[in-house]
């Protein structure tokens, strides 16, 4: 790094209080405080966010560099998913209706998921 070069920070924004921080890009800045200011100016001029994270790029370890650390693809994982179970016709045989977790969440919070 030359004398005048700033380190790179990866930038994450949080849309609302209950959202996860999401990666939006990166910026260069002299220190974390400056990085937060730069991130605000670079990425959040229009969208509002309730929080911004800046993380020094060299603190990030990426699995894409080492595919052995990535989850297996192509394997049948349907047995891990709600869609892997077709219970509706079975409930119907018992004259009952299949239930989804979304309707439970809606009943409990009064909000549509």
């Amino acid at each position: 790094m030359s004398q005048g070069e700033y380190p790179v920070y990866e930038v994450f924004g949080q849309k609302d209080r209950l959202a996860f921080h999401t990666h939006v890009g990166s910026i260069r800045a002299a220190n974390p405080e400056m990085a937060l200011q730069m991130a605000r100016e670079a990425f959040f001029r229009r969208e509002t966010v309730v929080d911004i994270w800046v993380v020094p790029q060299d603190a990030i370890y990426s699995a894409a560099q080492e595919p052995a650390y990535l989850p297996q693809i192509g394997e049948d994982k349907k047995y891990r998913l709600p869609s892997g179970y077709d219970n509706a016709p079975h409930w119907k045989r018992f004259k009952a209706r299949a239930m989804s977790i979304e309707e439970v969440a809606e009943e409990m919070t009064g909000k549509r998921g």
Binding site: R17, Y79, Y85, N87, H90, R93, M99, I101, T109
Partner: protein
């Protein structure tokens, strides 16, 4: 004592529906209630994996084995995610993962009554997914609205995975209900075993002071009795649709209020079991946890030493 002005401001934030982060100032009572709740929740996820793990090698088909194993992995994962939250909150007390896990072995943290019980048949494995996960989902769906943002956020992820647990449990139960007389009997007997523990699961009719304070702090939004009523209301018709009966002669819905009358579980027996870890499987499962936590401690320490040694190598 907490600063009364900051406490006032904090309560105003809650009143406005604002969510609290781990790094925000909070009254110590709020912090302590959260630690107690999330610690117990996380540990219950982990202890909840044990009754089902027992059935992984004995499940009837490879697909059922895969699915049950996937569910056990999810529950351990839920425990890990929740313990991280409890650890962040426990930072002022200097307590991390090791300490929170030591509490299980020393009997300083409780876990849900249902995970002290035995699961003697394959139908129990199914009914756990059907009724126990069903009950847990009702509680967790309520907590999606919690005032503590990290908890609400993590529950979004957890509830998404629970959706699979619900469908998987129902799939096992439906297969038994559609099966032979022996399978249907086995299912009925499992329902008979799990119904009373599920009535206890949501807690006493009159909530304790801690639970009441959790409602005032909007950590939770419904009472124990609200949750139990929602559970009964959803599951009684489903169990009956299968041609199964509920082992409670008092069970009756008031047509005017929609509320259910039910037989109280043996509160004293279950309370004592949860407090003293004196249930049929409590000690056996805690012994497994002790083995994983204490006897494997040297492995965790060795990995730390190795990492440190590598970092200190010349040229590292």
């Amino acid at each position: 004592m907490d600063d009364p002005i900051r406490t006032r401001e904090f309560l105003d934030r809650l009143e406005q529906g604002d969510k609290i982060e781990a790094t925000d100032w909070m009254p110590s009572e709020y912090r302590d209630l959260l630690i107690k709740q999330i610690h117990m929740h996380g540990i219950s996820e982990i202890m909840g994996a044990y009754p089902e793990k027992e059935w992984v090698p004995k499940a009837p088909t490879i697909r059922r084995k895969l699915a049950l194993n996937a569910k056990v992995q999810d529950e351990i994962g839920h425990g890990q995610m929740l313990l991280r939250l409890a650890e962040d909150l426990s930072r002022p007390y200097g307590r991390g993962r090791e300490a929170l896990m030591d509490d299980v072995i020393a009997g300083r943290v409780k876990f849900h009554n249902v995970f002290h019980m035995s699961a003697p048949t394959w139908a129990d494995a199914g009914v756990i997914g059907f009724l126990v996960d069903g009950g847990a989902i009702i509680t967790q769906a309520m907590l999606l609205d919690s005032s503590y943002a990290p908890y609400a956020r993590m529950l979004k992820r957890i509830v998404a995975e629970e959706s699979f647990h619900m469908q998987h449990g129902e799939s096992v139960v439906l297969a038994l209900a559609e099966g032979t007389d022996a399978q249907r009997n086995m299912l009925q007997e499992a329902i008979n075993r799990w119904w009373e523990p599920m009535m206890f699961f949501f807690g006493p009719r009159e909530m304790g002071r801690g639970s009441q304070r959790m409602m005032e702090y909007k950590i939770r939004t419904l009472t124990n009795e609200d949750l139990r009523q929602k559970f009964i209301n959803r599951y009684v018709p489903r169990v009956r649709a299968l041609g199964m009966s509920i082992p409670d002669p008092k069970l009756k819905q008031d047509p005017a209020t929609g509320l259910w009358e039910y037989t109280d579980p043996d509160w004293d027996w279950f309370n004592k079991m949860v407090r003293d870890n004196s249930g049929p499987m409590s000690q056996a499962r805690i012994a497994l946890r002790r083995y994983a936590h204490e006897e494997q401690r040297w492995v965790r320490e060795a990995v730390n030493h190795a990492t440190q040694a590598l970092a200190e190598l010349p040229g590292a």
